[in-house]
């Protein structure tokens, strides 16, 4: 099939300089289709497509590669959340808030040290179920962080984002099993 399109592509280019692009675009569209197909089986389809499409590596990636891209997103978001937590801790919060923030710091550290690290190793080594466990754990850590605030949580956006990204990652990894 691919060979056929390439020949046609070349032929068209040789004769008319116009919609040769259409046939070559078919090949690219297959990659975009992989992102769509993969994201279709995740709980937050649009979010999934957004994150994957915005990473240049997604054009050449297989499903494992797409999963690794999402794990990178978890890592970035966890680092950002930790930065914010440290900032908030420096602003001398009252005791209840401080305890919750410290607990959240532990949880986000665990996301980085355990979940992200294990997920990357597992995906590379071909034992994806550990990556699924890591993604599921990241979602739980984020939810637990959110629940640790008795009053209003200053990290709602971060925790919700982490939960959704983690759930998306887990759903992509499941497709590898």
């Amino acid at each position: 099939m691919k060979t056929l399109s390439l020949i046609f592509c070349t032929l068209v280019m040789a004769t008319i300089s116009m919609p040769a692009g259409t046939n070559c675009r078919v090949i690219q569209q297959n990659k975009a289709n992989l992102i769509e197909e993969t994201c279709e089986q995740t709980p937050h389809r649009d979010l999934c497509i957004q994150y994957l499409s915005s990473d240049p590596r997604s054009t050449d990636a297989d499903v494992t590669g797409l999963a690794l891209i999402m794990v990178k997103v978890i890592k970035t978001k966890a680092n950002k959340a930790l930065d914010k937590i440290h900032q908030l801790l420096q602003e001398s919060p009252e005791p209840g808030q401080k305890e919750a923030l410290s607990s959240c710091a532990d949880r986000y550290k665990a996301i980085l040290e355990a979940d992200v690290a294990v997920a990357i190793a597992a995906l590379q080594k071909g034992n994806p179920k550990f990556a699924e466990d890591g993604a599921n754990d990241a979602a739980i850590e984020a939810t637990s962080c959110e629940n640790s605030f008795s009053g209003k949580s200053p990290l709602t956006n971060e925790n919700n984002a982490m939960h959704d990204v983690a759930a998306t990652t887990g759903a992509i990894v499941r497709q590898l099993l």
């Binding site: 532990d106 550290k109 355990a114 979940d115 690290a117 294990v118 034992n127 179920k129 637990s144």
Partner: protein, 516 residues
């Protein structure tokens, strides 16, 4: 997960997947421990680490084969520098070392690489070898094609040169990747374990695999055709991956070995954590092994195995309490007055008394129940409440639910309900369970081993087993309690139990400085 369990010169050896750097999966090496009795373990130095291109990304699972001349050969999966799963050979440097401290990797590794048609990431966990009709050894390796889980078979004479059989040992569509394949004979006269190479008319073969997709250990009984190295299940409806489980709880990557010393087949199981990674990092450890279990064919049902804690666990028993004929009425809970309730060995027998009163019970629930032990039906649930506190704010019900009061006619479920096992909101709290056949004339019984955060429950002599992890916040140490309960509506239960306090096993590093 475990690698190559074996018995050598008076010591049982356990090798396990170990990350020396963190309480998470990664940097996988072979931890090593030895024991005289498979209960009191002593840690030895790490046996093998990733050191060559063919295992630099992980020294994974494998199995030991003991040759008739006494040689020990270990086949294991290595993850290469290119993330390809290959099989390697290793052996002890010094066979006269009872501790088997040093291991050497064969210079010609890898000895098997993924064959054509098998993906490089779906090829792992070689089994213990068995001798076929032609005198050659066979080894099985799990894999998959599409969504069909299967076991490949290789033949060898020297464990260096291997040839792949045309047919696989067995395959089951829709079951996904088969990890930790295990293949061994059991005697249908059910009294002793058998060496892996035994075959004959009084033997059935067990094929087991760990299901990567669903994280359960599935098995089936069947017949091994040595003429062409294929295996067929006794009941295709309960084939590998779609039928019986070795354990209906949190249990995975198990494997057996033949204990030639006591002529038993012993099953090891891996039980990982169901709390969060942040908890695991804080406590600095993760993952347990169950008390090893003996494996026997259940000649009464003819369709299942019997798995039972090894008798050596009884050496941990301290004092005991006995309770005879305690009546528990519908909807009631009875406390048991024992000293501590965190390290226990419990054996309980249950008698059913039908009530003459109006039948108010629904009998439309026959399984564990959507809300577990809170789901009341006419003839269940009833059993024990383990790792509970005085106010029952935390409790783990272990129970039977019958469909009929005539034991020969009932469909019975054996369950563990973790929904109220802990007040913590970030731990998993599932309901586990499976059917357990009860034959007429039998007594209803369960055995339960409790050890703080792990509960191993055995129904009807080990026909159905459930391992569970619990993380109580109140029901800990001196505050933990044990209760009897009956939440059925139409029956009284009369329970007789014997409860032993269990000592610690004092697992520690091998005392090299002392004489042993």
């Amino acid at each position: 997960m475990f690698v190559g369990p074996l018995y050598h010169m008076g010591w049982y050896h356990l090798f396990y997947q170990y990350n020396p750097d963190s309480a998470v999966w990664g940097n996988i090496t072979w931890g090593h421990a030895v024991s005289r009795d498979m209960i009191h373990w002593l840690y030895l130095p790490i046996a093998m680490v990733p050191s060559k291109w063919y295992d630099i990304n992980g020294v994974w699972t494998g199995s030991a084969t003991l040759l008739p001349d006494g040689k020990i050969l270990m086949l294991y999966t290595g993850d290469t520098n290119d993330f390809v799963q290959v099989q390697n050979l290793a052996y002890p440097t010094n066979l006269s070392d009872p501790l088997l401290l040093d291991w050497v990797k064969y210079v010609g590794n890898p000895i098997i690489v993924p064959p054509p048609g098998t993906h490089q990431k779906n090829f792992r966990d070689p089994t213990t070898g068995w001798i076929g009709l032609d005198g050659k050894w066979r080894v099985a390796i799990g894999s998959k094609k599409g969504k069909t889980g299967l076991s490949l078979v290789y033949k060898t004479i020297d464990f260096i040169n291997f040839e792949l059989n045309d047919h696989c040992l067995h395959a089951v569509p829709g079951t996904g990747m088969w990890e930790c394949v295990d293949f061994y004979p059991v005697s249908i006269n059910g009294s002793k374990g058998l060496d892996t190479s035994v075959n004959g008319p009084y033997v059935k073969h067990v094929l087991k695999a760990s299901m990567d997709d669903t994280r359960v250990d599935s098995y089936a009984l069947g017949t091994y055709f040595a003429e062409n190295d294929t295996w067929v299940p006794d009941n295709p409806l309960e084939d590998v991956g779609i039928g019986l489980l070795l354990d209906y709880g949190r249990y995975y990557a198990s494997k057996t070995f033949y204990d030639q010393e006591k002529e038993r087949r012993i099953l090891w199981g891996w039980v990982n954590e169901t709390d969060t990674e942040s908890d695991d990092l804080r406590k600095g450890w993760a993952s347990l092994q169950t008390i090893p279990r003996t494996v026997l064919f259940d000649d009464k049902t003819g369709t299942s195995l019997l798995l039972w804690p090894i008798e050596e666990v009884e050496s941990l028993r301290l004092s005991s309490d006995e309770f005879e004929g305690v009546v528990v009425k519908p909807g009631s809970v009875v406390p048991l007055n024992i000293t501590l309730a965190t390290q226990l060995d419990i054996f309980a027998e249950f008698e059913i008394e039908s009530l003459a009163s109006k039948n108010i019970g629904k009998n439309n629930i026959i399984d564990c129940g959507k809300i577990g032990a809170r789901d009341r039906s006419a003839f269940g649930p009833f059993g024990l409440l383990a790792i509970a506190d005085d106010s029952l704010s935390e409790q783990t019900p272990i129970y039977f639910r019958l469909s009929d009061t005539t034991l020969g006619n009932t469909t019975t479920f054996f369950c563990v309900d973790e929904r109220r096992s802990s007040k913590a909101s970030d731990v998993a709290k599932p309901i586990y369970g499976g059917k357990v056949p009860i034959l007429s004339g039998e007594k209803l019984s369960m055995r339960v081993l409790v050890d703080h955060s792990i509960i191993e429950s055995f129904a009807q002599g080990g026909r159905t087993v459930i391992t569970s992890r619990v993380y109580p916040t109140e029901a800990i140490y001196g505050a933990a309690r044990l209760f009897l309960f009956n939440n059925a509506t139409d029956i009284n239960i009369k329970i007789s139990l014997k409860i032993w306090q269990l000592n610690s096993a004092f697992i520690r590093p091998f005392p090299f400085d002392q004489s042993q």
